[in-house]
């Protein structure tokens, strides 16, 4: 592998990784506040991506307006999901709620297939498609990849600031650390859960809008993305947003560099196997730790 090729693998790794990181953040926010693993996270991304196609390419709206509307719609779906599907079943166990999220994701995919059909769509690129050459090495990056990486950075920073410096953000964190104690000091945990779902949907919708011109949008794009985001969130332990982002980036880079190594198990045949192997490893290590945490609690 030449240094030029390595640079190219790194670029595509960071692009893929940013996508996984954005997905993982959605998982993390909802899990931290509600202990629910939301398997419909990928559907928020799909809604963002597909709507932005409909609005920008078919309805002819300007790109900024279509982005805004797509994100708002994803947020609305997040709120509806919480209010109709999760809140009404609040007496159910967490496992049942997780299964409800799977059901919801299948429902959303079905509706999307009815609305948009089953073809793959490509929304317009934000700033053209002429790839930019990197300095010093012979590698290229597309403008859309810069948008994706940039979005991941901005979303991570904003989320960090929100959780650290705003009252709502602190209340969310309090719910994550200890829901009962948070309730005792007057934090409305149901409102916080709603906020978590909307926040995750906004992040999902935003990332869907930004990534769709790069990875193409289809009604079932959320499935594989959700899986990768789940791996990223597992690396982050489902609680720490920064660790989730690092996990997502790591996963993206490892997958792409593995293809470049082209040696032993590190070939393109095993690109996804690597992600799943990482997931298994983490789950094995963490299951011990989670069990001991549970005992301590």
């Amino acid at each position: 592998m030449s240094i030029d090729q390595f640079a190219q693998y790194l670029i595509s790794g960071l692009t893929d990784g940013s996508i996984y990181a954005l997905l993982g953040l959605g998982f993390t926010i909802i899990y931290a506040v509600t202990r629910i693993i939301n398997f419909a996270q990928g559907e928020f991304v799909m809604i963002g991506g597909m709507l932005s196609y409909t609005l920008a390419a078919s309805a002819g709206l300007s790109i900024p307006l279509s982005i805004l509307l797509s994100i708002l719609s994803a947020a609305a779906v997040g709120a509806i999901m919480y209010l109709l599907a999760i809140r009404t079943a609040r007496r159910a166990s967490v496992v049942s709620l997780i299964i409800i999220t799977i059901g919801f994701s299948i429902f959303v995919r079905g509706v999307a297939a009815e609305i948009w059909g089953v073809n793959t769509m490509r929304p317009p690129l934000f700033s053209g498609k002429t790839p930019l050459s990197l300095p010093f090495v012979d590698a290229v990056i597309t403008p859309q990849a810069i948008w994706i990486i940039g979005t991941a950075v901005v979303v991570t920073i904003l989320l960090h600031l929100f959780l650290k410096y705003t009252m709502v953000g602190k209340a969310l964190k309090a719910c994550a650390v200890n829901p009962e104690a948070a309730g005792l000091v007057g934090i409305n945990s149901k409102a916080m859960a709603l906020i978590a779902f909307v926040l995750a949907a906004v992040i999902g919708g935003t990332s869907g809008v930004v990534m769709a011109p790069h990875i193409l949008a289809s009604y079932d794009m959320g499935v594989m993305l959700g899986l990768k985001g789940f791996v990223a969130a597992s690396i982050g332990g489902f609680k720490n947003p920064i660790a989730t982002v690092v996990g997502g980036l790591l996963l993206g880079v490892v997958e792409n560099v593995a293809v470049g190594l082209n040696w032993g198990p590190f070939t393109s045949s095993y690109k996804h196997v690597i992600a799943l192997a990482v997931l298994l490893l983490i789950l094995l290590i963490r299951s011990g730790r989670l069990a001991s945490e549970e005992r301590a609690a």
Partner: protein, 397 residues
Amino acid sequence: MRKYLRLSIMLTLVVALVAISGISCGDGGDDGANETYKIGALFSTTGGASNLGVPEENTVEMMVEQINADGGINGHLLEVIIYNDETDSVKCANLANKLIEQDEVLAIIGPTTSGNSLAIIETVTSAEIPLVSCAASADIIEPVEDRYWVFKTPQTDRQIVAEIYSYLQSEGITKVAIITATSSFGTGGKKYLESEADDFGITIVANQVFDEGDTSMISQLTLIKGTDAEAVVCWAIDPESAVVALDMQTLQLEIPLLCSHGIANQGFIDAAGDAANGVIFPAGKLPVVDFVPQTDPQWEVLTTYKADYEALYEGGVSTFGGHAYDALSMVVIALEDLEDDLSIDEARAAIRDGLEQISGFAGTGGVFIMSPTDHLGMQTGSLALIEIVDGEWTWKQ
């Protein structure tokens, strides 16, 4: 609100009407009139191969309507029970059993994908029911002694590989990079790309794969860019092939891209945009029907099918709908010779024999002459080498 109410009442009435008319048809059959011929179909109308399955389903629904409007087959109405296998081979196998055991169909057409077709060969063989697959892999009908009950209509991957390689040979290209999907379709293509290369004096300098649903092939193509490949051959269906075309454009990898017949679909051009231009692939003549001369034996079926399909459905014809057209047409040919008062097992066996005796049927995919040793029977001259120019299919002769 009132508008929606009225609409939903109307819809309910329509559904009720359809249901009632369905029942009365059924009664007619029991009253001694000719029994309805029941055929099963398994298509992937959702999931990874949905771009292929949807036109197949549309085609079959259109044909059933046409056949019954013309009075059916020798006075028998035709009913095709279509199930969606969701591009999932386990679901496909279950649905195949349902068609055989519960619905008691006479023959099955489909499945859409090679993987699903291979998954139900055992089922149809032990149940002794004829299957006409709409999928590509040669393994579906070979070895023919183990495929007594199985036929197929699309050209095989080996035929397509030979077409691609002989084109490359004529262009003087000897070093190629191959990039294939890990699906059954992709691995089938990979097998023949590897085994046939020597015969055409071609060296494979890079051999990369990707999974269905992958959204970036930059890494694999970067590796290919580092070799001295003179052309890339991609073997996959359309969303992933479009990603290959787009990523080659991004990496400024300016060597020819050749694809399989898996991209003979408007979806490929829509998804790849101007990266689709210059892509070359062999397929049936349906995409380039405007270039087919009237003297061609397939001219009539191609133009009629295209006109009928496009009058009913959006999105234009694809070869995949054509494969279903050919499959159902062949079953209908076999049904035309079916004697009355046979038991279901006898009828299934008679249809199988009828399929094997089909000779000179001009379908959308080619002219077919079936035989006990060839359950595809596609004659040479059935393929066209297609190049995408300015977002349109053109026949590269």
